[in-house]
Symmetry: C2
Subunit: 303 residues, 2 copies
């Protein structure tokens, strides 16, 4: 089948749903077995032009579980094999890079990332489990489209962002700078375009320009309101401080793309505190009424 295949491997933000140590309202519903909240693993998608060779975008800590749940990504010939031919990273957050540690065992693939993200991998020797003689590390340059060799074109673009949490120490943390710290990806094949932006600190004109005309936009759905975490008493950090745009309120994403032609829009990288995770909630109804979908693990799109 030609087109552009997109599999949602994980739809949650860092920590997943439920988060291991959390009893926020959403996690609490899950822990007591309320069927309105389903389990979600940490965000990652797989994209393919032919349904055979796949590009992962981000490698979540849950990648082993995600592959076991996804027959498309399981080995099918020889004694060692994987349909995963490449992994592209949108930043160096733990929930996007830790899964690389699972993709060891001498399997050949290519890791695409910005120079800055590659430097972070290089400064952590644990990533040497991906032996350089089998795993190629390739630098993505902003706004320079490249051919992945598996029928997919990728165009990376910088978005307003923030350094990874584990790199914050001792730094003056700047939010919203447009550097290679946080990027979005356009992935295209067979005249179809996916735009993937799981983390974004502000919706500027470049973000809107890239989203315009996409057949599918998967966008940062971390929190519903900017002060969601502080209000729940879980953290003093707003969505903005974490490098994310809230869905609603000033600078929110809900209405920010409404004037553009976009085939389908859906939220991904959804934090466990976000009430859109509760089936039937007012907040879920509100985003659906605004023509946004809410991704769930295992969802498939054929564009």
């Amino acid at each position: 089948m030609s087109g552009l295949h997109v599999l949602i491997l994980g739809s949650a933000a860092g920590g997943g749903v439920p988060q291991w140590n959390c009893r926020c309202p959403v996690c609490s519903l899950f822990w007591v077995g309320d069927s309105r909240v389903e389990s979600r693993t940490q965000s990652s998608i797989a994209v393919s032009a032919d349904g055979v060779r796949w590009l992962l975008v981000n490698a979540s800590p849950d990648i082993r579980q995600q592959i076991l749940a996804t027959p498309f990504l399981q080995p099918s010939n020889g004694s060692r094999h994987s349909p995963v031919e490449a992994v592209a990273l949108t930043n160096a957050d733990v929930d996007h890079i830790a899964g690389l540690l699972v993709l060891r065992e001498r399997q050949s693939f290519t890791v695409y990332a910005t120079g800055q993200t590659h430097d972070i991998l290089a400064s952590n020797p644990i990533f040497n489990v991906l032996s350089p003689d089998v795993v190629k590390r390739s630098v993505m340059n902003m706004d320079a489209p490249f051919d992945t060799g598996i029928g997919l074109m990728v165009r990376p673009f910088a978005v307003p962002g923030k350094v990874a949490l584990f790199m914050e120490q001792g730094q003056d943390v700047r939010i919203g700078d447009v550097t290679e710290t946080t990027i979005g990806l356009e992935v295209s094949a067979n005249s179809k375009r996916l735009v993937y932006i799981p983390g974004c600190a502000a919706i500027d004109e470049k973000v809107r320009l890239m989203a315009s005309g996409a057949d599918l936009l998967l966008y940062d759905g971390t929190t519903f309101t900017d002060d969601e975490m502080p209000k729940l008493g879980l953290s003093d950090k707003t969505a903005h401080r974490m490098g994310h745009t809230p869905i609603t309120g000033t600078g929110g994403s809900l209405g920010a793309f409404g004037d553009l032609f976009i085939g389908q829009k859906a939220y991904i990288h959804i934090n466990n505190t976000n009430p859109i995770l509760i089936d039937g909630s007012t907040e879920r109804q509100m985003v659906e009424a605004a023509d946004w979908g809410v991704t769930r693990d295992g969802m498939k799109f054929l564009l």
Copy 2:
């Protein structure tokens, strides 16, 4: 209930069963849905004196999935909470430390490890996600028992080992040195003793001395034969080269503890290639006839 509670969170070696890219005979049975092979996550156990406060031994990459499968380890009060109060590490292998990256989100606990293993964590800034103001790092000294503060005494002891794979680069890899690289743990409470040795390159007199009299010995069951991986054409590495004793053959574990009084013996850290993973296999029957159990995920021991 007093005694010593032991939960098998994961029973497999690095990669788990099935391994993401593997079609060895055992993994192949799993991929085609043969019920004789069950899924196993990467090795980790939880130990408790009271069934309420828990020590994890090793933090596997599958720890989020393991906690979701284990009600004992789920949060039960306040907005953030975990029954996991400490994590002890037996070496710095990826399958034993990567799970620390999942145990973030500002949860307070103590990481116990040797000085050498702490140095490896410190040399990888990604582990800074465990903020030093909430996660304490405590050095374990060999043969020095210590009180964990949750009713468990722990005595670490060096065993013949090998540096972690990702630290091998550019080094002359020495196998079987008795250093702080690889350790076993005795965990005791209420007059009961668990001895946990998930990786061991040779069974010397010290290993036998520590195992002697244990109520439960959980021991390295990586491979059945020393040449298992080379014979399958999967790797040129023997069990010995990977820092493990095979179950059978010269230096094998199957008969090495037979003359000691040990309450129960079971294999853990079982590689996906090991035929004891197939229910009813000749090899499974052979280990069971020699009075060894084969751990599976979710197994509980109350000593």
